[in-house]
Symmetry: C2
Subunit: 354 residues, 2 copies
């Protein structure tokens, strides 16, 4: 049997408290006694206080959980998510805390269990959307949490680190509009639940499933409305997932037809890169060059010459973790909107004369 603190105490002939102190509060006992205890522990093969027992007794764990509302491996597959996690890990490391990545089961009924079973002191929800059932479960457990998107109903207990999606989207769209583009397509991931890949009818931006998409579509729409292009004249393309391949697949149909768009505004860089792939690939090319924009400014965007909106990914993660680990005194400081920046590269240009 694995030795316990009690065994060490018995071996040395002291009480458990003293052994405990030897580990957790060295100043509470003489150096000599401490040495004797540690020595005996060593001899017995006592691995030090059991972390679980210690957590139970102390009432906290020393780890924060990160929740992804998609498959866990997405966290490592999507470049933006990876950068976010980089930031989180930096903050966590500085704080001496661990990071628990909790896979959420696909069946919504089991999500609660997964959240309830996670041994953590708080959650960082890399949110996709309105996953209220996730937040409800966390709240019911009574743990603090931070999300990565502003919430409309955010009370003082809700903390978030997000960006102004609408304004950011508008900044790229304004740029595209200023270049003269009027026949445009918007490309988003899972714009409607279970929608097939390709063109989609969407009454308006507010019909999109995810709040993030909603914000971005709204920004795009506003920019074009300002130059007289009505929402109904904009093609909405749906990608079945946020991946390069899904972007390629979704846009392929959208570029055909008599009057193909002269610009495609994607809701993420990954999708935009997929569009560039489609444009570069074999197959019927549009008669004119097509401008393409992304969102996020991931590393690949630079080398691909993609015009996009930069958001500080690592900073988002760093701040989210910090907000969780050191709650701000003033609850208002728990609501953070990070700045974004339009990055113009070569993937956008003036609309060519027809």
């Amino acid at each position: 049997m694995k030795p316990t603190l009690q065994d060490v105490a018995d071996a040395v002939g002291v009480s458990r408290s003293t052994v405990s102190n030897a580990y957790s509060r060295p100043d509470q006992l003489s150096a000599a006694l401490r040495a004797r205890i540690l020595d005996a522990a060593q001899r017995l093969g006592y691995p030090g206080p059991n972390p679980t027992a210690r957590s139970l007794r102390r009432g906290f764990v020393g780890a924060i959980g990160v929740l992804f509302t998609s498959r866990l491996s997405y966290a490592f597959t999507d470049p933006f998510a990876v950068r976010f996690l980089t930031g989180v890990s930096e903050a966590v490391e500085r704080h001496g805390t661990s990071l628990l990545l909790v896979p959420l089961p696909a069946e919504r009924a089991r999500v609660r269990t997964a959240i309830d079973d996670a041994g953590v002191d708080g959650f960082c929800v890399y949110c996709a959307g309105d996953e209220d059932w996730v937040l409800d479960a966390i709240r019911d457990r009574g743990l603090p949490y931070v999300t990565t998107a502003p919430r409309g109903d955010a009370g003082p207990d809700d903390r978030y680190v997000g960006i102004d999606e609408r304004a950011a989207a508008r900044s790229v769209a304004d740029h595209v509009a200023a270049l003269g583009h009027r026949r445009v397509a918007i490309l988003g991931d899972t714009v409607l639940p279970d929608a097939p890949s390709g063109p989609l009818r969407l009454a308006g931006p507010s019909d999109a499933t995810h709040p993030t998409t909603r914000g971005r579509l709204t920004g795009f729409a506003e920019a074009f409305a300002a130059v007289g292009v009505h929402w109904s004249a904009i093609t909405v393309l749906n990608a079945a997932g946020n991946s390069r391949a899904a972007g390629t697949a979704a846009v392929t149909a959208g570029l055909a037809g008599d009057e193909p768009p002269t610009a495609v505004l994607a809701c993420s860089d990954v999708l935009a890169l997929g569009v560039l792939d489609a444009l570069a690939g074999v197959g019927p090319r549009p008669v004119h060059p097509v401008s393409v924009t992304g969102f996020d400014d991931i590393a690949e965007a630079a080398s691909a010459g993609l015009t996009t909106v930069r958001q500080p990914a690592e900073e988002k993660g760093r701040l989210a973790a910090a907000l969780l680990l050191e709650p701000p005194a003033d609850p208002a400081d728990g609501h953070v909107l990070l700045p974004t920046e339009l990055v113009v590269r070569t993937s956008t240009g003036p609309v060519s004369r027809s």
Copy 2:
């Protein structure tokens, strides 16, 4: 105060065991009673069994730890590490387990504490080198572990998922040698502890710090020895870290001189990409084209046209986690060497006539 299982029991007028059963073993009580209990819990705001207490009692946690012997954020910064983690997360997700990323303090003395404090059932050590002090700490804690490199002294309890570094390295080096290259440089990360960036005197491959580097250098050396190039004729370049920038910095000096190498063999793709950057950048160019090879075959390698050795990164992670979560019946199955494959692209070519 947060309600406990006891409170629910009191409220319903049953014993704690029954409430516990309502959560953990629904078949042990009538549906009606269970409903009453769950209902009361809901009303009282009882969040379900406390995971820490449950872990303590049950004797396991439901999480495995991943240890990086460098800064934790490296795990998200290095493409190969990210792919490895993708694999781990897939396995873990399938198994319904969580993933604890444990930052290891820089001071070696505190590493033990970090390991002892991690609430996990086992460790996956993304190993860099011979970090024996890490493995010792894990062993002393009595937890199972899997490493990502074969260990010379691997007993039946040690499990690993690695590759044959020597053979893999030899395969690229053979290719380069076959192209006629005889004046070559080898580029590795932290070949010797605290070595400066740039050319290095190394008596032989076995002097390298990390076993991985050791294996690769040995393979390189063998291939060139086979065509009559002695170790002493090979330039060893040291990079201060495994990053593109470090690769660029390290190689810059190495390409100068009267008789610069006609080929650079890097110990990782990241470093090799750095070499390509250096070659493409401004500054004195070598008079002849320089062949470059990498190691790992990360995504960027393909677009950069980098000749490299492919190793199945995700598979490595998947298998490592699987080995930990479902220990093989036969200990021999705990020692896995994955296949590698030489991928020839455009970054290597015949040595040009002088």
